[in-house]
């Protein structure tokens, strides 16, 4: 019900829709009744304090966690996502907050893990994988060279580049990005934003979690604010100011619900 | 036989302890063929027995042998399990004396607690017989590894001498089980010492010059450690063979049948079987098969462990009759040869006859217990 109240950019069934999602860990209610939708070619930002439940929410969509209650629809059809393979089958790719890299493997191996290019005898086609990985990674991070070293030895930015590149490469329809720019330098962040624009123009939907309010405003069409596992609200980026969104994060109230005093406290 | 009183024992430890008895391989499953007359008594004798451990075929058979012999004699019998554990052993000892039996048979696996056991039994004024591991102040029943080793050498060496072998072209390979302690390894030590005395040209040594860390004895002796087990003995002998010229004669002997079988396998693999004479200890089915079919396997020591029960009950009866046994009452033990093996063991490896009593054990005859079983040479009637 809540989702229908939220403004949407275009009409037609959303690319992905999560309805009334609940998830707790033991006694902790990490996500309580959150609904969110992403249209094709749309970027939705998710913001909120540490521990607000952002990662938990998107991990349900990427198949890392099983929700306790709620429903997920892809292109209007209800689907069940029981594991990460299911999500990938629905075209949902994820850049995890911790990047989910294998430190002992090199960039190419990390890039293709689970989807290795192989010969018909089941042996690895390392040359083909390296070619593909190099092209995509260099587009995101031109200074990236050490494709053949274990990623343990790489910088945070380089590691993030690998995680981004591999999510992008496999023809995702929806990209989930949990803090994608946290470890990137200015130049890489700029390249990343360009990448987002290009993917958008290709009709790919994106869910972006970020602590950087400026980045969120730069990239998102809509912004969902979460606090203490609940959804404070979702607004079209064009309809709100950064201050209003900050207010939602801090106060856990919609701008119209907050009193003058509340907002006065912010300054 | 040593134990630090640990709560649980590993497989390897158990093996070591089995070895410590001088026989890892149970001889046969035969229990006593009870065809004797049933003894009747108005006031039955009461015997309590604490077994060292109730796992492992050997110990169970030993315990069953004692139990069956006691029942055959019409004695009241109670059985406890020491679980190879010192505290359990002491607790059992206290339970047993509470019951006030006439005599206690104690098979204690933890040598260090002998004094504590003695105090419990002495305080209660109950006589006791220690099985295998001595307890100070008590009567003692055990095998004598030293004699087995000596007797085996006395069978093996004359055959080698008859072949014209001497210390110049012969090496004795003995497989010890160092972790099992000195007494157990007496068999291989005395085997070598006796062989050196009776074969020309062998390096002579005193028994205590062969210790757990001895590896070579002049040019005529090699001691390896087989841990009482098949695989370890196989590997150890394999390595030792590298140091011996291919045409050298070998006398092979070990602490138990598994070790001898492993060593023998290494010898046949190296194609040296025709230059080797071998002897086993334990009377296991596999070793008896070798003794019967393998011309190089000339002797097999047996201690008839499954039949200790009837001797122990005889001993207990003697003690209750006021007889003072010798410091050590020897179990039946015999060196089997291809000529006499069929007399004592049937084709399945079951004991059909026990060797005659040695003079020191004549006092057992007087109890009349052994006669009930009708299976001891010289006491069949």
């Amino acid at each position: 019900m809540r989702a229908s109240r939220d403004p949407e950019v275009t009409s037609g069934p959303p690319l992905v829709e999560m309805r009334d999602i609940h998830k707790s860990f033991g006694g902790i209610h990490a996500v309580e009744g959150v609904s969110i939708s992403v249209m094709a070619g749309e970027v939705v930002g998710i913001v909120g304090h540490n521990g607000a439940g952002k990662s938990t929410l998107i991990k349900i969509l990427s198949g890392a966690y099983q929700m306790d209650d709620g429903a997920i629809h892809v292109n209007g059809n209800r689907v069940s996502i029981g594991n990460p393979r299911d999500a990938k089958r629905h075209g949902i790719e994820t850049i995890y907050q911790d990047l989910a890299l294998h430190d002992n493997l090199d960039a190419v191996a990390n890039f293709f893990i689970g989807r290795e290019i192989h010969t018909r005898y089941g042996t690895l086609d390392n040359a083909a994988m390296e070619r593909a990985a190099r092209e995509v990674i260099n587009r995101i991070n031109p200074s990236f060279v050490s494709l053949r070293d274990p990623v343990l030895s790489l910088s945070g930015g380089q590691r993030q580049s690998i995680a981004i590149a591999r999510a992008v490469y496999f023809n995702a329809r929806l990209l989930i990005m949990d803090e994608p720019t946290a470890a990137l330098g200015q130049r890489e962040t700029r390249a990343f934003k360009e990448l987002v624009l290009r993917l958008k123009s290709e009709g790919i939907g994106m869910l972006v979690i970020s602590h950087d309010i400026h980045d969120v405003f730069d990239m998102s069409d809509r912004i969902t604010v979460m606090a203490n596992g609940r959804q404070v609200g979702t607004r079209r980026t064009a309809d709100v100011t950064k201050d209003q969104v900050l207010g939602m994060i801090i106060l856990g109230k919609l701008p119209e619900e907050g009193t003058e005093e509340d907002f006065a406290q912010l300054h | 036989m040593k134990n630090q009183g640990k709560q649980s024992i590993t497989r390897r430890e158990m093996l070591t302890r089995l070895t410590a008895l001088g026989f890892t391989v149970p001889a046969a499953t035969a229990l006593i063929a009870a065809n004797g007359r049933r003894a009747s008594a108005a006031d039955p004798i009461r015997i309590s027995f604490a077994n060292v451990f109730e796992k492992g075929e050997l110990f169970v058979q030993l315990g069953n042998g004692i139990e069956n012999a006691a029942k055959l004699m019409g004695y009241e019998f109670r059985r406890y399990n020491n679980e190879f554990d010192s505290e359990k052993t002491l607790a059992n000892a206290r339970l047993m004396v509470q019951d006030r039996p006439d005599i206690i048979l104690e098979y204690n696996g933890v040598e260090g607690i002998g004094q504590a056991l003695r105090r419990i039994f002495d305080d209660a004024g109950i006589p006791f017989i220690a099985i295998n591991v001595p307890i100070p102040g008590g009567h003692w029943f055990n095998l004598v590894n030293k004699e087995i080793g000596t007797d085996t050498a006395n069978v093996v060496v004359p055959i080698a001498n008859a072949n014209g072998w001497t210390g110049n072209d012969t090496t004795a390979i003995i497989i010890q089980a160092s972790a099992a302690g000195v007494e157990v390894n007496d068999c291989v030590r005395y085997f070598y010492v006796t062989a050196a005395e009776t074969m020309e040209g062998m390096t002579k040594v005193k028994p205590d010059e062969i210790t757990a860390t001895t590896t070579t004895i002049g040019d005529t002796g090699i001691q390896v450690d087989g841990a009482g087990a098949l695989e370890e003995s196989y590997t150890a002998v394999k390595n030792a063979l590298q140091t011996l010229p291919a045409d050298r004669h070998i006398l092979l002997y070990s602490v138990n049948d598994d070790s001898t079988l492993g060593g023998w396998r290494a010898i046949t693999e190296a194609g040296r079987q025709d230059n080797t004479i071998v002897a086993g200890l334990g009377g296991s089915v596999a070793a008896l098969g070798e003794l019967r079919n393998n011309p190089q396997w000339v002797a097999e020591g047996s201690v008839f462990a499954t039949h200790w029960g009837q001797y122990l009950i005889a001993m207990a009866t003697a003690v209750l009759n006021g007889v003072e046994p010798p410091p050590l009452t020897k179990c039946p033990q015999l060196i089997l040869t291809p000529d006499n093996v069929d007399k004592y063991y049937d084709a399945e490896g079951k004991v059909q006859l026990l060797p005659p009593l040695v003079p020191e054990n004549e006092y057992l005859r007087d109890t009349g217990v052994l006669q009930q079983f009708n299976n001891v040479e010289g006491l069949i009637g």
């Binding site: 994820t94 990047l99 893990i113 290795e116 945070g156 946290a182 | 391989v25 390595n239 140091t243 596999a286």
Partner: protein, 330 residues
């Protein structure tokens, strides 16, 4: 795992980290050099060491543990351990001889023994993945169960092989090299190839490197883990078949050292205790180092007590030295 919040663009302490990784390769070559030193030492000190016949002797001595160590490599590289091999080796040995003595054809008896082993491995894998018990504890439990089973099946006695032809692996030779040594070499080549060049090999390293990331990447982590434990135990059971072929008898006492020696060999060969790093080449080198030292000391007539002590010291030195290098160069 470092979270991006703590890391920033640009090289972090990448030099030391890089050298930590390279240290495993350095350790491989270090152990290789160490092996050469061992060979030289024993050649100089023993008249019997450096000969074709003793080389063959060493090879035959290490085959059983080599086969076990191949499986252990899989378990350790994937981030686990398999202690149960010490029970599965005797279980495989005893079942092989029992079935062979029951007139089962030799290949069928071998296959059956390996299937029994693989079944134990599947059980290991299930309790590690589905029940979530730590591999050390889980396989310690099955070690006890399988060792006990081997004792129960054999009644604790050595069972001679009735049909000597069943010992084909040891009885037949290629030149003077017994079939089982050839088998070890064949198995090693297959596993080396699989781990280096195939998709499944890559995934085993991935799982050992980061189990959760592997799951998120869509790998069937549980299934692969179960398959690894099944392979490891199947190989251990096959090692039991080889021991029985060597001894022409089955005994529950064989293989008691298999778990410790195989793990020591794998680690000596440069594998990481926590998974993700290691390989067949290093493992075989580790097996050879331990086997050669044991053989050399036996030839030098070192008493068994001291052999045991020396082996432990050498193991610590070799592994410690590799780690020390890493610390110094880092």
């Amino acid at each position: 795992m470092s979270s991006p919040a703590e890391t920033f663009s640009g090289p972090r302490d990448s030099e030391s980290v890089k050298s930590r990784w390279h240290s495993t390769r350095a350790q491989f070559f270090g152990i290789g050099a160490f092996y050469i030193a061992v060979v030289v030492f024993f050649t100089l000190t023993s008249d019997y060491f450096f000969s074709y016949s003793n080389a063959l002797n060493i090879l035959t001595n290490v085959t059983v543990i080599g086969i076990v160590a191949l499986g252990q490599t899989l378990a350790i590289v994937s981030g686990g351990f398999d202690l149960s091999v010490s029970g599965v080796v005797p279980l495989g040995a005893v079942t092989f001889v029992i079935f062979s003595n029951a007139e089962m054809a030799t290949p069928a008896a071998m296959l059956f023994a390996m299937l029994v082993g693989a079944a134990v491995g599947v059980f290991n894998g299930l309790i590690v993945t589905k029940v979530g018990i730590n591999p050390l504890i889980a396989t310690l439990g099955t070690l006890s169960i399988t060792a006990g089973l081997a004792y129960a099946l054999s009644n604790g006695v050595t069972i001679p092989m009735k049909n000597i032809d069943a010992g084909v692996l040891a009885e037949r030779t290629w030149g003077r090299v017994p079939y089982y040594v050839v088998t070890l070499i064949g198995l090693s080549l297959i596993m080396w190839f699989a781990m280096r060049f195939t998709v499944i090999g890559r995934r085993i390293y991935a799982i050992g490197g980061n189990r959760e990331a592997s799951r998120l990447a869509g790998l069937r982590v549980d299934e692969i883990t179960i398959a690894i434990y099944a392979t490891c135990a199947g190989l251990a059971a096959f090692a039991g078949v080889v021991v029985s072929s060597q001894l022409l008898a089955g005994s529950a006492t064989v293989g008691a050292d298999a778990a410790l020696t195989s793990i020591a060999s794998v680690i000596l060969g440069g594998a990481a205790l926590f998974g993700g790093v290691g390989g067949v080449g290093g493992t075989l080198l580790g097996v050879l180092v331990l086997g050669t030292i044991a053989n050399g000391m036996a030839l030098l007539m070192v008493p068994a007590f001291y052999q045991q002590i020396a082996t432990g010291v050498i193991l610590l030195l070799a592994v410690g030295f590799g780690r020390l290098r890493a610390v110094i160069s880092g």
